[in-house]
Amino acid sequence: MSIKAIQDEIIEEFSMFEDWLDKYDYLIELGNELPEIDPGQKSDENLISGCQSKVWLDAEYKEGKVWFQADSDAIIVRGIVALLIKVLNGQPPKEIIDNDLHFIDEIGLKQNLSPTRSNGLVAMVKKMKLYAIAYQAKEG
């Protein structure tokens, strides 16, 4: 599935929620379902420290595709992390670099990804793209 198609799917899913608290309920559910990463991966190297919450991000490159693993100490942030992983996991580096993440705006999570929130998410998205750029460069 393309990054665009997955984003559209998420947008449609979220359009069913009438209330913000329902959206958060769903994000909490996603956050709880996101597999915990290895304690070893919760390293300083993988830590993206926000003032408000912490995010850990690790990546792997296998057969031309990027695979992310991530975690956060806050559940709603984990839920948003789960969405980002759902959209970008298993995609070729070029796709990750070229596509913008318009779903964030569309489902009303923009404020959670604003630089002033300091929750680690903005830096996480940036780091995901940087991983893709690095992997693409490796391919030449």
Partner: protein
């Protein structure tokens, strides 16, 4: 008690706002307070009818503006019971006031090997300027610890006052624990050893009476925006003798007496410390805010807030799994807490969508968080316009948050 809360709430137009279609419950007053209509009108009127640069103008508006600005200085003087307007310096806020003292006092009096004494419960703005000073001068920063109730260890404090201590800088009230510190006693003990004291009053002026002459502190700072005044204005109080002795920290217009390319002589107090065009609009707005507070009666505010604080303490403590950090005997209506094992950021995000504004995180007091080995708290901070009904709304919202995250 003569305290008409409905009328008071009417004075603050923002309190009628809705967020996400829900009535705003604003419990983030530790960060900033809202402005009564009289302050908003004053600032608006200045720009509409009076605006002119102060002190050096020859024309009517400038004269009038200067008069009002100096009158604002006198209002600030009276509010904290300083002796003279020469002791009242307008700054950008409490932070810039502390920076000014850390620089100017530091330049004059702090040398290599000296010690600066602060406490473990300071806001970053009363830590970092002193760290910078110590780095510059190769001096040492010493820290008075607090106990788990959030009370300063006064025995440790006494022992930390040494022949090397050059200044003590502590807050009057803690922005994250709510503790009201015994500033008079702190000052008395330091003065026994001829050590000057700076009191960070950013979290007290909106809650209670401040009398700098009674405290006898050497410096006292506060921010206008935390006491219902405009942003970008604050006050540095300093005893005249000390202010005379220390050099200005910024150069520019208005702070000078005579400038030649060879040498500059400085203006007298308080102008020596007010370089450049000052925030006169802010100062006059602040004076209006202080008049507003005085008009309500400080003792009325204290009595009302005490009821509110007791009510909040009782209601919050009754919530299953809620833990309050900071249970000092004397406190302001600021509560830092955890709700079960829910991440404060998660709780804050959900409360926000319910129309309840709290703050989450470290509240610019990371050492306080380190003390309890936590990464942050949820903080609800109330002032004179908050109500028991709002606390009830917070409590039921917290119950709902707990349910959402316990699934």
């Amino acid at each position: 008690m003569n305290f008409n809360i409905e009328k008071i709430r009417d004075d603050f137009p923002i309190l009628k706002e809705q967020v996400y279609g829900k009535p705003l419950v604003y419990l983030d007053n530790g960060a900033t307070t809202h402005k009564p209509q009289v302050v908003i009108d004053t600032v608006k009127e200045i720009y509409e009818k009076q605006n002119s640069s102060i002190h050096r103008g020859i024309h009517y508006l400038s004269e009038k503006m200067t008069e009002d600005y100096e009158e604002a200085r006198d209002t600030a003087r009276k509010f904290i019971n300083a002796l003279s307007t020469t002791e009242i310096i307008f700054t950008h806020g409490a932070t810039s006031a502390i920076n000014a003292v850390a620089f100017s006092f530091g330049e004059k009096f702090v040398k290599e090997g000296d010690e600066v004494l602060i406490s473990e419960m300071e806001h970053h703005s009363n830590i970092v300027p002193w760290q910078m000073l110590c780095e510059r001068k190769h001096a040492h920063l010493k820290v008075i610890p607090f106990n788990d109730n959030g009370e300063l260890d006064m025995d440790a404090y006494k022992e930390m006052l040494t022949g090397k201590t050059r200044i003590v800088a502590v807050n009057h009230a803690s922005n994250s624990l709510g503790t009201v510190n015994p500033v008079k006693e702190i000052t008395r003990l330091a003065h026994e050893k001829n050590i000057p004291v700076l009191i960070d009053g950013a979290q007290i002026v909106q809650h209670g009476e401040v009398d700098v002459r009674d405290i006898d502190c050497d410096f006292f700072v506060f921010s206008g925006h935390k006491v219902f005044g405009p942003t970008g204005i604050g006050v540095l109080y300093g005893k005249e003798k000390l202010l005379e002795e220390i050099p200005p920290y910024q150069g520019g217009g208005d702070m000078v007496d005579c400038v030649t390319m060879g040498k500059t002589t400085y203006n007298e107090l308080p102008f020596k410390f007010e370089a450049g065009t000052t925030n006169y609009t802010g100062a006059i707005g602040l004076a209006k805010a202080l008049d507003y507070v005085s008009g309500l009666g400080i003792s009325n505010i204290v009595a009302y807030e005490q009821q509110l604080t007791e009510y909040a303490a009782e209601k919050l403590a009754a919530i299953d799994g809620l833990k309050i950090f900071g249970n000092a005997g004397k406190r302001i209506s600021v509560f830092s807490f955890h709700l079960a094992d829910i991440h404060p950021y998660d709780a804050g995000m959900v409360l926000d969508k319910m129309g309840i504004a709290v703050r989450t995180g470290t509240h610019c007091t990371q050492p306080v968080m380190d003390h309890y080995d936590i990464s942050g708290t949820i903080r609800a901070s109330m002032v004179l316009y908050n109500t028991k009904e709002e606390i009830d709304l917070l409590v039921s919202a917290l119950e709902r948050v707990r349910k959402m995250f316990s699934k």
